[in-house]
Symmetry: C2
Subunit: 251 residues, 2 copies
């Protein structure tokens, strides 16, 4: 079972004040890039939102025409907040651990997840679940903290001896648990290499469609001092994969 | 046109003494991983070796049953050395710049390249050439210096303030020319992100089959002091992609 830090009151009271929670999608600078990976039209789609949090994307999908949205999260705090928004019979919120969730086969057109999978212990299992719950032609789009961010002992920029700001990368290839102090002490993440994310998708049957080592645009960096450090080490990894008919790659 | 450092005498006299040149494939520790990405049998195959150097892989492909091998390199020095091995009418060595090479359409079963593409200025052009020279069902396998290696101003391990050995990553997202002093001063490489390598393949029509952020095995690290640093930052990126029939991914 994944750690459920979101139901720690200490963590949650800080978390709820982050721009991406308080403002929703407009507070998440990578959202336009993620949105561009999703189908242009969601009209009539069945949409799966894994790690839905406050439901910002679940509600957006409904506004875009999705007929049915399943939002899943491990956190009671998050789902309680999601339920404070006006009720929508097209959205179902489900409390479940993504490390053990079993999804109905051949049901969804689109599966989505934002900044959730780096908490999971058994990602290959979930990816296989996503593959089988998608219909043929279905789209899977997700973001995670970039492996370059999750890898190091000390995930903070430092100065080298010449005064360059550098990211002190280490233990990149050593996958597994990372304990960080972000908003609260002892937040547990799982570090995976970029190769692992990609190979897990291919091994489950997905066809990779695009990846984005996301960083802010020139305009966003100019407007947000400090964001230029993202050029040194991208904060997020965005991936789009497709379930194509009879296209499992022979190896 | 790509820089042709291999025809610099200063560079070449050092280069020729590297284990992977002097010993051939047994001197290249990543070779077993690359070999495992190639088809199990090459019997009857037409094999393309881009940046063939001394021809180690070209000759290996013939031994494995390839009927025709085209080895291409920009360096006269390298090809002269390749021609010192016993002549084989199944191998054609061609001197050409991969930044402008035009390949015959629908000809090859397998395209291969080892540690060459990070010297090229226009990789998308070459990848498109490779796609169209492959037959349907064809395999494309290549290695490059890992983007984490090519990115930094100072591509050498440093100690952080706590005494950890770290890789001083910077300007990862800033693609383009990198000048390093490796065997000779002023060796020019082109830094590309991992996303760019992958997206270039997908945009050309390839289906990604596997990627390997290669590092030595436990046994190799034990036998070669210093190699354990590869766990901090993998030295090589290995990619396998397939040309599948009518499988260009809709985006």
């Amino acid at each position: 079972m994944a750690q459920n830090i979101y139901d720690s009151e200490e963590f949650f009271k800080e978390y709820i004040q982050l721009p991406r929670q308080a403002k929703g999608l407009t507070g998440a600078p990578e959202w336009p890039a993620l949105r561009s990976m999703l189908p242009a039209s969601l009209t009539g789609a069945k949409f799966l939102d894994l790690g839905c949090g406050f439901g910002w994307v679940s509600r957006w999908a409904r506004e875009e025409g999705a007929v049915q949205v399943l939002g899943v999260d491990i956190s009671e705090n998050m789902l309680a907040k999601a339920r404070t928004f006006p009720a929508d019979e097209g959205i179902t919120y489900l409390r479940a651990d993504l490390d053990s969730l079993v999804l109905p086969p051949s049901t969804h057109n689109v599966a989505f997840s934002s900044l959730t999978f780096h908490y999971l212990k058994d990602l290959p299992r979930l990816i296989t679940q996503v593959y089988q719950t998608l219909l043929s032609g279905g789209t899977f789009v997700f973001s995670v903290e970039h492996p370059l961010w999750t890898a190091p002992h000390n995930p903070h920029f430092i100065q080298d001896s010449e005064g360059h700001t550098v990211w002190p990368l280490d233990r990149y290839l050593d996958e597994g648990e990372r304990v960080t102090n972000w908003l609260a002490d002892g937040v547990i993440k799982q570090h995976r290499t970029l190769a692992t994310y990609i190979n897990n998708l291919i091994e489950a049957g997905f066809t990779l469609s695009a990846i984005d080592e996301w960083a802010p645009s020139e305009e966003e960096m100019a407007a947000n001092p400090g964001w230029e450090k993202s050029r040194i080490r991208p904060p997020f990894l965005l991936i789009k994969a497709l379930k194509l008919v009879d296209q499992k790659v022979a190896t």
